[in-house]
Symmetry: C2
Subunit: 461 residues, 2 copies
């Protein structure tokens, strides 16, 4: 939330090459604010600003940026300069950066980093990006269970400087098995002579190194933690994931959910990709699937084309019925997908939810059906047509609400991500059903009650 | 993540009224796990379980539940019992609970709570629920700037017990103006004789008491904070919002975003409402708006009905063109809305984004157009029809991508929440445009190249 005038001032100083003044201003700014400002200016200027920061601050600013943006900023730097910045970055952020780099460059940089880093980074690089292992940092404080509180405080003083958090202290045995946890709050208020094993919590919420990052964030949120320990199958402590990473994951997953709902395949960098084909690729799959599906709707019209030729006004209501059906289906889908994601929908209230939303579909169907029937009558002055349109709307909407819930539920039951049942997919299914309902009722009403129909009337098959 | 067998065991013990055994098991469980379990069982049993917990644990469990659920659980309790539980809850959670209760009950409970609570709770109750003020807690530790580190450590020991967090210590003057902040980490590693004002950070990230809760969560996330101080216009410290509340807000806003995108109005309790009308109300607004909009599509067909009567096959492709156009529009909308929300889209890359996505629309338009033209030719054996269908698809999709971005951008520019431009709304606009494009091309191709058209051909106006 850097004021616009500060950005203008910095730009002004940059034009006049007043580097010393820029340095003074940047030194006072929060890294997150500098990162935000870098997002608003040209790439060339970004690099100049970065060079005016001291190494520690430059590292902090890089940590605030998206991994893909970081690469552009450091591409002109020498290896020595990059290594200096890396030494000031936390381990999990270095890994994020390495994952964007070509392997050759990573190997070169690794060989120039202090020896202690090498094995640690190598191991972390092997973890899948979107799991607890890919998210965790190894900069945490651990204590052995048999030391005293007073010794533990010394450990925190000594090793706490570089740790991501010192507010949770993890207790381990010699083989690094996770034994317990203690908050700094508890440690400092405990009698100095007590043993750690006597005051620690033995029940620790931990996550497996392979757990999906969304589940890690949910665990942190559920237990209101500041960090969660990451362990392997033998319960050995490998690292920790902190709450700020959980917040970032939540934001990213939020974006992914909304994109999936709209039938966009998840991609790394969504807003601006390098090629036009990149921007199209993530859209095309569901589009073509649904295109083929929607041809079924065309075939339904083909089957009933006789009625269209007799009463062409039947065609005028195809768009409104299809669109409203699709809208109701998408609404139900959104409710179901979010209900499943947040856990608000569970086995206990499932039936109640399906019943409620289907009835809500009938309810909105009755309202929309009445509105449509009245408008149709005013427009076309044909009572049979307006009745068939209104009744079709009512039934189609109830049906759409039901389908919009049932399909994601079914996917969830079959252990398929319910968000895969995207809006476009639901709409396609709903369209076909709506048209079948509409033409069935049009046939019934217009053939029974109307004398206007010619000989071409009836299904064309 | 309580295992299923534990829940079954508890249910079994409940049936056999083994209350002592239940007590022992519950005492060992994490409040968040108990809260999760309560979500899976009947209301009557929930109340029994709650009574088997000691007051402190019961308070913690209640804090984990949704505010609306809490009411059901405590409705049979006496006022004395409720007051006991309230005394063990944190201030921000008490406020959440009070906001669900009838005013009369709140007044009664307030009068029975210890005097110190009264004014504080009264003030908090006046704040809007979805602002920093509604979210904050007043249980925080503050220090005066002129005391020494050693005195400060005593303050933390003495007042830290009930505080929501002791990891950030806020420094104030006599009138409670926010002067600085200090982390516990910095405090314990500072020389004991130093003055607080000499070691505190004078630049503090704070939020205004009236700031929207989503912005509060974003601030916490941006600066990777564990808590953010809430101040009034005079920079007086009123409370703090902690990171665990930010996580909850993010989850709730995520749900709201997805619902808005699907054209569902935001409501308090979304999954199960008390009445069917409640479930319908949140859906009906956009449905009726779009219903009326989609009648425009019908009018477009009416205008061009001459061509339908001559070549009925033109109608077969109305669904696929409308649906694919709507899908592309919704995809663009999702990209734009999320881009705006996360700040990835800004004034700098706006034009590049619009250009990229419109070109992506043309790109998918060409692919979908080719697929459709081929299928149309195989199906109808009419080269002119298949050409008009294919070309319409290409142009309509480019246009849909453009509209899907432009409208939310425009809304954002006009300071209207871009998520209000919901999927249904975009689809309606896109439908009308698509049909106009389709019929224009059908007319051009089929009248110029086809001899099959009868005298009724041409726009019906």
């Amino acid at each position: 939330m850097l004021p616009k005038k500060d950005i203008l001032l910095l730009k002004h100083l940059l034009v006049h090459k007043k580097n010393e003044e820029i340095k003074t201003i940047l030194a006072k700014l929060h890294p997150a604010d500098i990162a935000e400002m870098l997002g608003e200016i040209k790439n060339v200027n970004k690099k100049i600003f970065l060079r005016l920061l001291d190494t520690e601050k430059a590292a902090e600013v890089l940590e605030e940026l998206e991994p893909s943006e970081r690469l552009t900023l450091i591409e002109d730097m020498t290896e020595a300069e990059i290594v200096k910045i890396l030494e000031n970055m936390s381990v999990d952020e270095i890994i994020d950066l390495f994952q964007e780099m070509p392997n050759r460059q990573v190997e070169k940089l690794l060989s120039r980093l202090p020896g202690s880093y090498y094995d640690e980074l190598k191991t972390l690089l092997k973890m899948a990006e979107d799991t607890a292992g890919g998210l965790m940092t190894t900069d945490f404080v651990y204590l052995f269970s048999d030391i005293t509180v007073s010794d533990a405080i010394d450990v925190v003083r000594q090793f706490g400087q570089d740790a991501e958090t010192i507010y949770y202290l993890y207790v381990v045995d010699e083989a690094k098995h996770l034994m317990g946890v203690l908050s700094l709050r508890e440690l400092i208020s405990a009698p100095r002579h007590k043993k750690i094993c006597d005051i620690m919590h033995k029940k620790v919420v931990s996550v497996d190194v392979g757990l999906d990052q969304e589940e890690v964030a949910k665990t942190i949120s559920k237990y209101s933690l500041l960090a969660v320990p990451v362990v392997d199958k033998q319960n050995r402590l490998l690292g920790i994931v902190t709450v700020d990473d959980a917040l970032d994951v939540m934001e990213a997953e939020d974006t992914e959910d909304i994109h999936k709902m709209a039938g966009i395949s998840p991609e790394e960098d969504v807003v601006l990709t390098s090629s036009i084909w990149g921007a199209s690729k993530k859209r095309i799959f569901w589009l073509v699937v649904c295109l083929l599906g929607d041809l079924l709707s065309g075939m339904v019209i083909d089957v009933y084309s006789g009625i269209l030729q007799s009463v062409v006004a039947v065609a005028f209501f195809i768009p409104v019925l299809m669109a409203t059906g699709g809208n109701v289906g998408t609404q139900s889908l959104a409710l179901a997908v979010r209900g499943i994601a947040t856990g608000e929908l569970n086995t206990k209230n499932l039936t109640a939810f399906i019943k409620e939303e289907t009835l809500a579909g009938l309810n909105v169907g009755i309202i929309c059906g009445l509105v449509l029937a009245v408008v149709a009558f005013i427009w076309q002055k044909n009572i049979h047509l307006s009745m068939s349109v209104g009744i079709s709307m009512g039934i189609a909407l109830m049906f759409s609400a039901f389908i919009g819930i049932l399909i994601p539920m079914l996917f969830n039951f079959l252990k398929i991500d319910p968000a895969v049942a995207s809006g476009p997919f639901i709409t396609t299914v709903v369209d076909v059903c709506t048209l079948v309902i509409y033409f069935t009722f049009s046939m019934a009403f217009l053939s029974r009650f109307s004398g206007k129909l010619g000989p071409g009337f009836g299904p064309g098959i």
